[in-house]
């Protein structure tokens, strides 16, 4: 294997290692989906196929629930898509960092976009430690976690018992908490995250007053509102934004440091 291929493999494996918490977090939800799908008359193979192709926790549950309530395939597909409209926002947000990649690379990266992979990859992009290969590795291990969970739920639910006693259903929430800290790396970013959270609280109380907005809308509405507010209120300081700009800034900084060293 050539050197470039070796580096790519290393980055892919780094992504796999990085994504292991997602693998863990997906197991219990995947198990729950496998159990439920089989109760609705899916064969285990169909449940696993659904998870491999759709890769969406809330979307898959909503599709099943809609099918049970309405009996309409079209209504279920539409409900699943509506719950997952946020994936479009995630894809748009990641796209500046994926400029000029081959379509077949994007074909797999796109498929593995979920809340969790989006958050992890965003955190690594911010640390300048993400590459298309690491993102593919992370997406692949997350996808496998979802498939493994579904498989266990579909064929072995009776052997698993109740995992909630071990708190494993809290894995996703614990991961989100750590990811928030990873992403909130300066004061403006921290405030922006807090504003989005406060807006969620606002929607929650409006719901208790009778608004009736499904919770899966909270994320996308409040994130768009908070980001829009901050981009309008906070002045542009000319900081590097795109992937290439950031690399160039890091290179220039390195050159400055070397120059300062030489002068010294």
């Amino acid at each position: 294997m050539n050197i470039a291929g070796n580096i790519e493999l290393k980055q892919f494996l780094a992504g796999v290692k990085d994504g292991f918490p997602i693998f863990l977090g997906y197991l219990p939800i995947g198990i729950a989906f496998g159990v439920l799908a089989c109760q609705y008359g899916f064969t285990p193979l169909q449940a696993i196929l659904a998870s491999a192709l759709i890769l969406s926790g809330s979307g898959q549950f909503v599709a099943l629930a809609t099918l049970a309530a309405s009996g309409s395939i079209a209504a279920s597909v539409i409900a699943c898509a509506v719950v997952n409209l946020r994936y479009t926002l995630f894809a748009v947000t990641l796209s500046p960092h994926l400029q000029g990649l081959k379509l077949r690379t994007l074909a797999w990266l796109g498929h593995t976009i979920t809340d969790e992979s989006f958050a992890f990859n965003s955190a690594r992009i911010r640390e300048m430690q993400a590459s298309p290969q690491s993102m593919m590795g992370l997406g692949t291990i997350a996808w496998l976690g979802w498939i493994c969970g579904t498989t266990i739920g579909a064929i072995g639910a009776q052997y698993v018992g109740d995992l909630t006693a071990f708190g494993i259903h809290f894995a996703i929430a614990a991961m989100y908490a750590a990811l928030f800290v990873a992403l909130a790396n300066n004061r403006t970013q921290i405030y922006c995250g807090i504003v989005a959270g406060l807006l969620c609280l606002g929607l929650y109380f409006l719901n208790h007053l009778g608004l009736g907005l499904p919770v899966y809308w909270f994320t996308v509405i409040t994130a768009i509102a908070a980001a829009t507010l901050f981009v309008l209120v906070i002045p542009d300081k000319g900081e590097p934004l795109g992937h290439e700009e950031q690399i160039e800034a890091a290179r220039l900084e390195g050159a400055h440091l070397r120059q300062a060293e030489a002068d010294h």
Partner: protein, 122 residues
């Protein structure tokens, strides 16, 4: 409820097509465009805003439900005081641990452990 194999496959492939289009099309189109700086700044706020919202939805809202709206809880789900909620403590431990160790797996596992322990104790 009985579903025919055909309707199950239609459901699976219909959801696949819809989700894949939502994910792949914007990625394929936007990664080939020059994105204006103002849009880039907007997108730069997006990850942290999404995480702020997700932490609130996954941790704070269930804690508020458990403390103030017991009627909204699923059957058998425990009610907790807002000051002694396993989820809030678990998330706080995850945040602190990540802040000092930068380890996602460590922070996640510690958060789960604290959550499970408090769930058992309270």
């Amino acid at each position: 409820m009985e579903l025919s194999p055909l309707s199950i496959y239609l459901l699976i492939f219909g959801c696949f097509a819809a989700n894949y289009a939502l994910r792949f099309v914007p990625l394929a189109v936007m990664s080939r465009l020059n994105i204006p700086r103002s849009v880039m700044r907007w997108l730069g706020y997006m990850p942290v805003a999404v995480m702020g919202a997700l932490v609130t939805v996954e941790v704070l809202l269930p804690a508020l439900d458990a403390a103030f709206f017991p009627a909204s809880l699923a059957a058998g789900a425990p009610a907790y005081s807002i000051f002694l909620n396993p989820g809030i403590f678990g998330a706080a431990v995850s945040m602190l641990l990540f802040r000092y160790t930068k380890s996602f797996i460590g922070a996640t596992v510690a958060g789960i452990a604290v959550f499970a322990l408090l769930q058992y104790l309270i």
